[in-house]
Symmetry: C2
Subunit: 202 residues, 2 copies
DNA sequence: TCCTTTGTGATACCGATGTATCATAACGGG
DNA sequence: CCCGTTATGATACATCGGTATCACAAAGGA
């Protein structure tokens, strides 16, 4: 095979070009030609590696999700031994706010795609429901096990829902420029402080 | 003038057709022709009342915002005398969740447009930043005045931000079908219960 | 009455976009 | 050595969408 570069790597290159482009100019500006230009390859190449535009978008989405999970696992790996629930939550949420450029791109594409999925049920089947739902269940379980660290009179399921919805809402307001990432982090800390028992809020 | 119907009314008719269409098939399906078909008028008519597509979208957005404010004022008008802060907050949030069809349409269009504004700063200048920001300030003031009704150790500004971000996040998760409107309302009640002093949580 | 303004229809135009086609290189195995 | 599979380029095609143009009707004032 006259493979100059690896197939999978090329696909990743193109997917990342798509993400850059979408983050900079919006998902509506993501055309096959524009992606090709951003990646510095020919239109035909994009067609070759992804037969259709839908396939390209789908693959990119998976790529994004995987990358996000990887960063999250990495963040958790930094914590040794039995992870306190609070650290776990903080690691999760740190990844879930659009603080740096990369994270901003991730959220922008994800949100754009989620909006599409709102009116196209076949899209919604995939990660937009399953992903967050699984996350919420996992978080609920974590909180339930760590009931001792929590403030009194808390319901783990409701707290998990609250954390995720709040984080997502804050993320959106950062994306539209209503508030800064730092201010969003402050609100999130405020929330987490109140979720965990008050006696040791650092 | 050979005006068969009122100009403003015709514009409203078209704007509402746009909202219906966008709520059903997504903002990407909103084309001049499709709006015309949905409204049951000719393409030329849409062009006549709104010179350009951008103008049509902008006008529709204002129409939506005005309608939402009207419903909110109406809800508040039902409360007589000095409104308790809790009632005020509940009226506000009740309007801010996509419970009925109309509200769902509103949120879908608003969210779609907000996503566009994330990458087109000239759009963001308009209601997407100013509106929520004003709302948050108003809510902050309301909470500050009602400090007596609130739980101890609360920061009005942070609480306002939390309420709005949480509500928006919940609304989004309802739109993508992750959770039902009823479940979102339950989480919101849970939150409001904890925001206001515990002794009289009904 | 006629002419100007307002309202409505049919249709044309042009650019963009997803996809398809044709050609051709590069390389490895028989 | 040559043939087929993989990889890449140039370009064509059909459609769609925003906008523009031309024609015309209806009505009210001069």
């Amino acid at each position: 095979m006259p493979r100059t570069v690896d197939h999978a790597q090329r696909r990743a290159t193109i997917a990342e070009a798509l993400v850059r482009l979408a983050a900079r100019e919006g998902l509506h500006a993501v055309t096959m030609r524009a992606v090709a230009a951003e990646a510095g390859v020919s239109l035909r190449l994009v067609q070759y590696y992804f037969e259709t535009k839908a396939a390209l978008l789908h693959a990119t989405l998976l790529h994004l999700e995987e990358a996000s999970h990887a960063r999250w696992r990495e963040r958790l790996a930094g914590l040794s031994g039995p992870v306190p629930a609070r650290r776990f939550v903080e690691a999760l949420l740190a990844e879930a706010l659009p603080t740096d450029e990369r994270s901003r791109a991730f959220h922008l594409v994800w949100t754009s795609y989620a909006v599409l999925a709102m009116t196209e049920p076949d899209l919604a089947a995939q990660p937009f429901v399953a992903g967050p739902r699984r996350l919420e269940q996992q978080l609920t379980a974590t909180l339930r096990e760590a009931a001792g660290e929590l403030a009194e009179d808390t319901d783990p399921a409701a707290e998990a829902a609250r954390l995720l919805a709040l984080t997502h809402g804050l993320g959106t307001s950062v994306l539209v420029g209503q508030r800064t990432a730092a201010s969003a982090e402050a609100v999130l800390r405020y929330h987490v402080d109140r979720l965990f028992t008050h006696r040791d809020h650092a």
